[in-house]
């Protein structure tokens, strides 16, 4: 899954809230809270960005943060989303 394009699995119920986003896990239906950085990744997946593009976009938003740290965070967040059944391979 990682290292290639991913898209949100649909249908996934979610709401933006102060400081992040809450999403219903596809695995259990229970809600996950994604804080701001993870919520930004969730938004970027909507545009079918791959892992590299997501990291670059975040780097532009947070220029003071070490790129390696950003890349590690993106990998970790995508892993969590994948574990919860929230991603699927881009069919295009």
């Amino acid at each position: 899954m990682l290292g290639r394009r991913s898209v949100r699995r649909r249908p996934t119920a979610f709401r933006s809230v102060t400081g992040g986003v809450v999403i219903a896990s596809q695995r259990t239906g229970d809600a996950l809270f994604l804080p701001a950085t993870a919520a930004a990744v969730w938004d970027l997946i909507e545009d079918r960005a791959d892992e590299d593009a997501i990291a670059l976009s975040l780097q532009a938003q947070f220029p003071d943060v070490d790129p390696t740290e950003i890349r590690r965070s993106v990998t970790e967040i995508l892993g969590v989303l994948d574990d919860e059944g929230l991603l699927e391979g881009d069919p295009t």
Partner: protein, 351 residues
């Protein structure tokens, strides 16, 4: 006039941003009345609000929205399950108005989901849900299955969906036939999936009927808020809308609901509604039974009996005396004498 706490909580619906008092003091009422999202908008960025209070409020908001997405996740599954078997449904109340009537679904908090199904498929719908892991949250007498307006079903993850075969209790549920409600239902989307909801006039009527007929802690500000957002949007067509609802004798409920909701908000009724908010005729039995400030169980029972087909009387009355094993096990009453005593208490109860 000094704004009441209730009117203050409804302020965001009118686009005002005057807090006027320590808004965080409103949190307990906002939670009880399911209007925490409105309080979040009332406070806005939190300028001048105690940081600990703000954090508490935002945690409550997050928990509410987490509950909302979990409910919607399961609701999508249930609607799909029913559709696969050809059972029509329409989402009611909080979930529907959140997506159709508020500026954003985040503005509307809800505790459960409500789904109207075709009454001819009520029992098959419940069976389908049981097969998918849902359990009855309460039991009704087995002969009252077809008379109850809704049955709450609980999923193992804790969420509840109220499966309705009518949009109101007793006589209220007989005013607008379910096939009219389902035939005129309108589409809306959750997470890209199309569902159905009641058409505008019926959604407003349902909000009014539900809010006016609710008592005690169930009479929540969220109900008044629903009436306010819908009636403001529909004000330009008020006369025609009331004419349409008059065919089902629910116009009085809408007139009364709108007047009372704006009174709670301490705001003027939209001008489009003004000429139409004075009910002309004397209230009928259903309105007298359900619009009084305290419960009137005898009138409610009589009003319901007038709405039943004559052939339904005997099965209905039988349902009070011959309740079935599940109901007996749940409520611990057995035999006609026990049931007659229960019925007597029920008719006297004004709580």
């Amino acid at each position: 006039m000094r704004p009441s706490r209730s009117s203050l909580l409804l302020t965001p619906l009118f686009g005002d941003d005057q807090v006027g008092e320590d808004a965080t003091a409103l949190l307990s009422q906002a939670r009880r009345d399911r209007v925490v999202p409105l309080l979040v908008r009332l406070i806005g960025t939190g300028d001048g609000v105690d940081a600990a209070d703000l954090e508490k409020l935002l945690l409550v908001e997050r928990a509410n929205m987490a509950h909302a997405v979990t409910l919607e996740h399961h609701l999508l599954g249930v609607v799909g399950l029913l559709a696969d078997r050809g059972i029509r449904s329409a989402v009611l109340k909080g979930v529907a108005v959140a997506h159709l009537d508020y500026p954003d679904p985040c503005w509307r908090q809800f505790g459960d989901a409500d789904l109207l199904v075709d009454p001819n498929h009520f029992e098959p719908a419940l069976q389908l849900l049981r097969g998918a892991g849902w359990r009855n949250e309460s039991e009704v007498s087995e002969h009252h299955d077809r008379f109850t307006h809704a049955l709450p079903m609980r999923h193992e993850r804790g969420v509840i969906i109220d499966v309705h075969q009518a949009i109101g209790r007793r006589a209220l549920g007989r005013l607008i036939p379910a096939d009219v409600l389902l035939d005129t239902a309108v589409p809306f989307e959750i997470a890209g999936i199309e569902l159905r909801a009641l058409a505008d006039p019926f959604r407003l009527a349902h909000a009014c009927v539900h809010w006016l007929a609710s008592r005690g802690t169930y009479k929540r500000l969220s109900g008044a808020a629903d009436i306010i957002v819908m009636s403001r949007r529909l004000a330009s067509g008020a006369g025609g809308l009331l004419d349409e609802l008059g065919r089902y004798q629910v116009d009085r409920f809408v007139q009364t609901g709108i007047a009372k909701a704006f009174a709670v908000a301490q705001e003027p009724v939209p001008s489009g509604w003004e000429p139409f908010l004075r009910p002309s005729a004397r209230p009928d039995l259903v309105a007298r039974a359900h619009l009084s400030p305290d419960r009137r169980p005898v009138l409610e029972e009589l009003a319901f009996l007038t709405k039943l087909d004559g052939r339904e009387w005997l099965p209905y009355l039988r349902g009070y005396l011959d309740v079935g094993d599940d109901y007996r096990a749940k409520h611990g009453r057995s035999g006609p004498l026990d049931q007659l005593r229960y019925l007597g208490r029920k008719l006297r109860n004004r709580a």
